[in-house]
């Protein structure tokens, strides 16, 4: 019964073509048809008949490749099909294996013998199938077990087989570095093959190998050089150029040597792909070779003006490679770059943008920004934000290095916020605050811009711009003394539409209102004092400009407005908003009748002004940037293990926790302890007027108390113990080591000569402190490169090499000398190829000690 069933299946099995036709006939989705076919395949693939099995496997491969069906369950059946004696079945089997196997496939071990058998087959096509399969699924074990077969095939007389064997070598070396000992010599011999296909294959292999570890292949430079000069095959030359780009990066003398032949190729009328490879090799590796670079830049110009968008894109790309070292090449082509900004291809536009940003310096920053803002206004959201982002990044680099006129820059930031597609609120907001803290001279303009932003109705509706509003609200409160009319600012902060904002930002608005109020009261009282007492008449405060002069009427209308604006918030659900609103309301409630009293009776005036002076003190502490290295200045307390066992964690989280690189590494230090100060103020409602000057020690004692209670959260340092307040410093953060060692921007007289307005001082920390991550010297290719170096130096020298390694560390001088001597003697020798070969054989010891060796006739 079973056999008749299987006969049925075999005779009436759907072929691949039937399956494809069936799928095409399905009008309403093909999922049900596919699952039906899959059931069929599952039945067929279990039959003993290999041809039925192989057709089932082929259908499954089709479904897996084009319809995403899982075929890992059929791994064993693929192995069965491969063992078929018929070529067609075998091909289907190998194809399925290459398609679906990975290193973890359990049945992989079962194919070792089959692969060996097919690699030794007399049928070259079977050999080729096995090689292709090995190139895709070769594991450590397979590579080890089949090295000798691959070695034999490397010398095959059939070019068709040999070139595939060469392709497989890459995988074999990668998985089983010891294979180098066996196969490397034959691989190198193939570099001299006259067959272009074999040459192409072997150069391709070396191209990949060199990419991973250039140093090991320096000794082969002469062979590559010969190919570079002699070959006329585009594919081969492109690969060789890639090899030289890598080699020249570690051996500058080589760059000089290959510059000429590369120029030769560029001058020849070669295909565009080869020409581009020449250009790229020159701009990336040989940019110190003047003639070559000039020629390459000339060719880039041809690309840039070409109608072919591909060439235009690649031209811009090449320019961006050369830009960091040779900006002149970009400046020469500025026109073409700017023109590319309006290209219809987003890729081209993006490249042009990057190039333009590379050109930016303090002389042209405003011009370039102007051009870019126009493009940002015109283009779609994606490119628009790309433009804004790169302007922000370029201008903020290195503490606003290229910005001279901060008033201009702040207005540019304001302009950015108003571009309809702008989504860079986070960065813009950050920079507004950052500039406020760093650049004192820019604060008046900052407050002006902030107010304009606050009252702009367009910003409130756009959620991604809220960080800007939050920054503007903070700045207008913090630097209110630079404003012309604090009333207007309070009005802007209290506008009814702020109800559209999220609570966290509203809290900032309210808090800023508080600061504005305190400032206004202070200005009012000091004006009162100066008018009432003739003694202080001359000291009319510098902060209050005529517009800020308050009368009783104006100050009470301000207080009333604030009360009106906030009273509705004292009942909101958000605790932060509610509490802040109540704080302000409590303060206004207290101060209001004091002001009223004061008009009638002069007596209580002092009390009221003291309360205000107290608040003023609280707010007068300036917010400063903190050095990114502040933490490092702490001595590490005993018993605190910072490096304990967290490496495992990084491994686990590495994927998710990519290091966030901020354009600005400084953090904000909140030196305001406003929340508890206000609370105290309310509790000691009547006593607070006792002495405002007692505030600093008071807050310090509070801090000390806090420290006593929560000592375990504080870092221990001896300094804090002998900390005293006698120096009159009201810095509540005295506990910390001096983090803010301010270094003002050095004044550059040359640049400033022609500037009408000197560049304001920018507070800059961390000068010279750069956090360069040193690349890990130990690479993963270690075993492979060691094997290759050994292979190049001669066989069986590994032990000696290791011994030499020890010697080298002891006595480098002698080795150096001896190898130099070797070189001299070799120079006298006659013919090229025999020369370096004999050298390689003879000076084993010297080379072993000095693994990187450039053959001297080349240089």
């Amino acid at each position: 019964m079973a056999s008749s069933n299987s006969l049925m299946y075999s005779l009436f099995q759907r072929s691949l073509e039937d399956l494809i036709k069936g799928i095409r006939l399905q009008l309403h989705g093909d999922s049900s048809f596919i699952s039906k076919s899959l059931d069929e395949i599952r039945r067929e693939i279990k039959l003993t008949d290999l041809s039925t099995k192989s057709i089932a496997l082929q259908k499954l491969s089709y479904l897996a490749a084009l319809h995403g069906v899982d075929m890992s369950w059929a791994a064993f059946h693929a192995v069965e099909v491969v063992s078929s004696s018929r070529f067609g079945d075998k091909r289907i089997g190998y194809h399925a294996i290459a398609q679906s196997f990975n290193d973890q496939t359990p049945v992989l071990l079962l194919i070792t013998n089959q692969l060996r058998k097919d690699l030794n087959s007399s049928n070259e096509y079977e050999v080729s199938l096995a090689l292709e399969c090995l190139s895709r699924v070769g594991t450590d074990d397979l590579a080890r077990d089949l090295t000798s077969e691959v070695f034999t095939l490397l010398g095959s007389s059939k070019a068709f087989v040999r070139k595939k064997a060469i392709g497989v070598v890459l995988r074999v070396f990668d998985k089983y570095p010891d294979a180098v000992k066996v196969c490397f010599k034959r691989l190198v011999e193939n570099l001299e093959s006259s067959d272009q296909h074999i040459l192409s294959a072997v150069v391709g292999v070396f191209c990949e190998l060199t990419t991973k570890d250039p140093r090991s292949y320096l000794p082969l430079a002469p062979e590559f050089y010969k190919i570079l000069v002699d070959s006329r095959n585009t594919w081969v030359l492109i690969k060789v150029l890639k090899v030289f780009a890598k080699l020249a990066s570690i051996e500058p003398r080589l760059a000089k040597k290959v510059a000429d032949p590369i120029c030769e190729h560029m001058r020849r009328n070669v295909g565009k792909s080869l020409l581009f490879e020449c250009i790229r090799t020159v701009v990336s590796g040989l940019s110190d070779q003047e003639t070559a670079l000039k020629l390459a830049v000339a060719k880039i110009r041809d690309f840039l003006v070409d109608d072919d968008p591909n060439l235009k894109y690649l031209g811009l790309h090449a320019l961006s490679i050369v830009a960091p070292k040779h900006l002149w090449a970009v400046l020469e082509n500025k026109e073409a770059v700017v023109k590319a900004l309006s290209d219809e291809d987003p890729n081209v536009k993006l490249e042009a943008l990057h190039l333009l940003m590379a050109m930016v310096n303090e002389d042209n920053v405003s011009e370039i920004s102007r051009i870019l803002m126009n493009y940002a206004l015109k283009s779609g959201p994606l490119f628009c934000n790309e433009v804004i982002g790169s302007v922000l990044l370029a201008c903020s680099r290195n503490s606003y290095e290229i910005v001279v006129d901060f008033d201009w820059y702040l207005s540019l930031l304001g302009e950015m916020a108003r571009i309809p597609h702008c989504q860079r609120g986070q960065e813009i907001g950050h920079q507004l605050i950052d500039i406020g803290m760093r650049v004192k001279d820019a604060r008046p303009e900052l407050v002006r811009i902030s107010r304009a932003l606050l009252i702009d109705p367009a910003l409130l509706g756009n959620q991604s711009l809220h960080p800007i509003l939050s920054a503007a609200a903070w700045a207008s409160g913090e630097y209110v003394e630079f404003s012309k009319t604090s009333y207007d600012i309070a009005e802007a902060l209290l506008q009814p539409r702020t109800s559209l904002l999220p609570p966290s930002i509203r809290a900032i608005y309210i808090h800023s209102t508080f600061k504005v109020l305190v400032f206004s009261l202070k200005a009012y009282f000091s004006a009162q004092e100066s008018t009432s007492s003739p003694l202080v008449e001359e000291s009319t405060s510098s902060v209050s400009s005529p517009e800020n002069a308050f009368t009783y009427k104006s100050i009470s209308s301000l207080v009333n407005m604030i009360e009106l604006g906030l009273c509705s918030l004292s009942g909101t659900l958000d605790v932060e908003v509610q509490e802040r609103a109540k704080n302000v309301l409590g303060f206004t409630g207290m101060i209001k009748h004091k002001i009223a009293e004061e008009v009638t009776a002069q007596g209580s005036e002092i009390e009221a002004s003291r309360a205000v002076a107290f608040m003023e003190d609280v707010f007068s502490e300036e917010l400063c940037p903190v050095s990114a290295t502040a933490q490092e200045k702490f001595p590490l307390p005993d018993g605190l293990e910072l490096k304990e066992n967290l490496e495992d964690l990084q491994e686990i989280c590495g994927e998710f926790l990519k290091p966030v690189v901020e354009s600005n590494s400084n953090l904000f230090s909140s030196s305001e302890k406003i929340s508890f100060s206000v609370a105290r103020l309310r509790i000691s409602d009547q006593q607070e007027a006792s002495s405002s000057s007692s505030h600093p020690p008071e807050s310090a004692s509070l801090l000390a108390e806090h420290r006593k209670r929560h000592g375990m959260y504080y870092l221990s340092s001896q300094k804090s113990d002998d900390h005293n307040d006698s120096n009159g410093n009201n810095n509540t953060l005295n506990e910390y080591p001096p983090a803010n060692e301010i270094s003002a921007d050095s004044f550059n007289p040359k640049k400033k000569m022609n500037q009408s307005k000197p560049r304001p001082v920018v507070v800059k920390l961390d000068e010279g402190d750069d956090f360069k991550m040193k690349p890990d010297a130990s690479s993963n290719d270690e075993p492979l490169s060691r094997a290759i170096q050994t292979a190049l130096m001669g066989k069986g020298k590994e032990k000696e090499r290791e011994k030499d390694n020890h010697e080298r560390s002891l006595d480098p001088g002698i080795k150096e000398q001896s190898s130099r001597k070797e070189k001299k003697t070799k120079k006298k020798n006659g013919e090229k190829s025999s020369k370096h070969r004999s050298r390689r054989r003879s000076d084993k010891d010297a080379i072993a000690a000095k693994p990187v060796e450039i053959v001297d006739f080349l240089l």
Binding site: G68, R86, H197, T234, W235, S273, N310
Partner: protein, 170 residues
């Protein structure tokens, strides 16, 4: 796990997608899990099919470059590393299309739909481990037809009546 990255050499994968977004061929030279494969296809065909006709043939994607070219209703896409030569890959694509053309006799999308495995075998002769290995169109055509003949002979044997009877009575 580092070996996964190291293995990725030359071309990472080849995709053939029709203008309607139907996948016609996929070949993966770097290890991608099945789920990842579907995601890549969806993501890339979205990007590429939406690009206008006069734009350049390269797309930057996840730190790689995808070189694509449209022939009639089919998009041929190959994914390469940043440092690889885009123009060379365009030539490889063109080369592949020419070989297909020669093999099928003015190839069209239907040829590839019904002979999808043949398209694979031809690609296998063109590239090995993601590297170009055969640049002569003539040679590829010769090799493929030789293999086809091998299959034909075997098929004739297999489908002979006596063979079927032998199978059934086994």
């Amino acid at each position: 796990m580092t070996c996964l990255i190291m293995l990725a050499s030359g071309i990472h994968f080849v995709l053939l997608v029709s203008r309607q977004g139907k996948v016609r061929l996929t070949k993966w030279y770097s290890p991608y899990a099945q789920k990842e494969r579907s995601k890549v296809i969806r993501e890339l065909s979205g990007v590429i099919l939406n690009r206008g006709p006069k734009l350049c043939n390269f797309v930057e994607w996840r730190g790689y470059k995808v070189v694509y070219k449209r022939y009639a209703s089919l998009y041929f896409c190959m994914c390469i590393d940043q440092e690889d030569n885009e123009l060379e890959v365009l030539e490889i694509i063109h080369h592949y299309v020419e070989i297909l053309d020669r093999y099928f006799g003015s190839v069209c999308e239907l040829d590839l739909i019904f002979n999808f495995h043949k398209a694979y075998y031809i690609l296998d002769e063109l590239l090995i481990a993601g590297e170009l290995q055969e640049s002569s169109k003539k040679t590829v055509a010769r090799i493929i037809s030789a293999q086809d003949q091998l299959v034909e002979v075997a098929k004739e044997e297999a489908s002979s009546i006596s063979n079927i009877i032998a199978q059934a009575t086994k």
